[in-house]
């Protein structure tokens, strides 16, 4: 344990913040993201430029939404439905004192991943992060980062509708669920039976798994992937009621 190791090295004033990051963030207190984290995830997080539109026009983090601090409280409706969405705020510098109250406010709406970008816009420039000048966004748009192996709903429906011979839709729901109907052309192997029934599946086709929520489809994808099949999965909800298909929604 880290504290013991420090004591062994002669440190005589060692404490432990035992409740750690979850308690800190639940209290609405600010956590700092590195510019590298923001850069790696760009496109799959909401970046809020709190310096306002005029400053953002001079240059902003690529894809950032210009939203001055005093505007944020009024724009609650615009924030993503997904409370686990990644939200990163920045100002000119880290500007902790300025941004911390807003982090607290956004956290109080139920958002669990609200961060302040380390070093602010100046830090971003120093780290050579991608920037834009014009085309300032003023509306929030959030896209979750796809999991490895995830197929988009559009591509999935395309395959369902056209049934290309080199693709196979694998429904991994239970027999009780599939009795209400299956997608046209799909093959059913419940995920719990999949390891024992791999021999039934083709190696020369791409297998696309789906279930009702995406959870079991991802497990099936991983079982297939680890067994060297060519596979992807649908991380969306699919409802099939009396042979009517409702697909695909998050």
């Amino acid at each position: 344990m880290a504290a013991r190791l420090a004591e062994k090295n002669g440190y005589n004033n060692v404490k432990v913040f035992h409740a750690g990051v979850p308690a800190w963030s639940q209290a609405g207190l600010p956590l700092i993201s590195t510019t590298q984290f923001v850069n790696d995830r760009l496109g799959y997080l909401v970046v809020l430029d709190t310096r306002g539109e005029a400053a953002a026009k001079q240059g902003h983090v690529q894809g950032a939404v210009a939203m001055a601090l005093d505007r944020i409280a009024k724009e609650k409706e615009q924030f993503p439905v997904d409370r686990k969405a990644y939200l990163v705020l920045y100002s000119d510098q880290t500007d902790l004192d300025k941004l911390a109250p807003v982090v607290k406010q956004i956290s109080s709406w139920g958002y669990q991943r609200v961060f302040i970008m380390e070093g602010g816009y100046q830090g971003w420039l120093q780290a050579n992060g991608p920037t834009q000048k014009d085309l300032v966004r003023t509306n929030i748009f959030y896209l979750p980062r796809p999991h490895p192996g995830e197929i988009t709903g559009d591509e999935f429906m395309n395959i369902v509708n056209n049934q290309p011979p080199e693709k196979l839709i694998l429904d991994v729901r239970t027999l009780a669920e599939t009795s209400a109907g299956m997608l046209p052309g799909a093959v059913n192997i419940p995920v719990d039976a999949l390891p024992g029934r791999l021999a039934e599946l083709p190696k020369d086709k791409e297998i696309i798994t789906h279930c009702r929520t995406g959870l079991r489809a991802e497990m099936a994808y991983n079982i297939l992937r680890n067994a060297k099949f060519n596979a992807r999965f649908l991380n969306d909800k699919v409802e099939i009621l009396e042979n009517r298909v409702f697909c695909c929604f998050k």
Binding site: N13, V14, T34
Partner: protein, 197 residues
């Protein structure tokens, strides 16, 4: 840890079944224990019946648990005989938590005999700081307050979000990073990580 010996016994058993039958497909993949786990738990290296990494998801419908072992995910089934340690039950597993899964090969299925969440280490009360105490500490700069916050989590977690002013010293890398700590041994060091589970 006492449990290790019996796990080794299981590993040997699983190894023998591997020799007896054809190698299952999953054995061909990468390791089943993440590099992060192996830093401290090197005994899990190349174990045929241990999956170790970050808990990902659990499906009651499929009676399966999914674990991120670094470069891919592993899926293991569970049943009513699966032992659970350090959380009341499997449904209490909440991300982020590292888990270790010991399993048996039953036909084509891998069935967990033990799912062990990373335990929370006991710290004497007088050595613990509360959220309020840390908040108070942060009203001063590290230099003014003669303190240093140290984040013991893996770099990816630190990068996503850390306490203001904290440095990152992942526990597994601590020995070679000791020079990052202040020269003055009376400096208040405050360690934190992913906290209670």
């Amino acid at each position: 840890m006492d449990g290790l010996r019996s796990w080794r016994g299981l590993a040997l058993w699983a190894g023998l079944t591997l020799l007896a039958g054809a190698s299952p497909a999953w054995a061909a993949g990468g390791g089943m224990v993440s590099a992060g786990c192996l830093k401290c738990h090197s005994e899990y290296q190349d174990q045929a019946n241990v999956v170790g990494g970050e808990f990902q998801s659990l499906s009651n419908q499929a009676k399966s648990i999914q674990v991120d072992v670094g470069d891919h995910n592993e899926v293991v089934k569970f049943n009513e005989n699966t032992k659970v340690e350090n959380v009341p039950s499997l449904k209490d597993l909440k991300k982020p938590v590292p888990v270790m899964v010991v399993f048996e090969q039953q036909g084509s299925d891998r069935v967990a005999t033990l799912v062990k969440a990373k335990p929370v280490i006991k710290v004497p009360e007088e050595q613990q700081l509360t959220v309020q105490q840390v908040q108070e500490l942060l009203t001063k700069s590290p230099a003014q307050g003669k303190y240093l916050l140290v984040d013991s989590r893996p770099p990816a977690h630190y990068q996503e979000g850390h306490l203001p002013g904290a440095i990152n010293m992942p526990f597994g890398n601590m020995p070679e990073m000791m020079d990052k700590l202040p020269q003055d041994k009376s400096t208040l060091l405050v360690f934190y990580c992913g906290g209670f589970r």
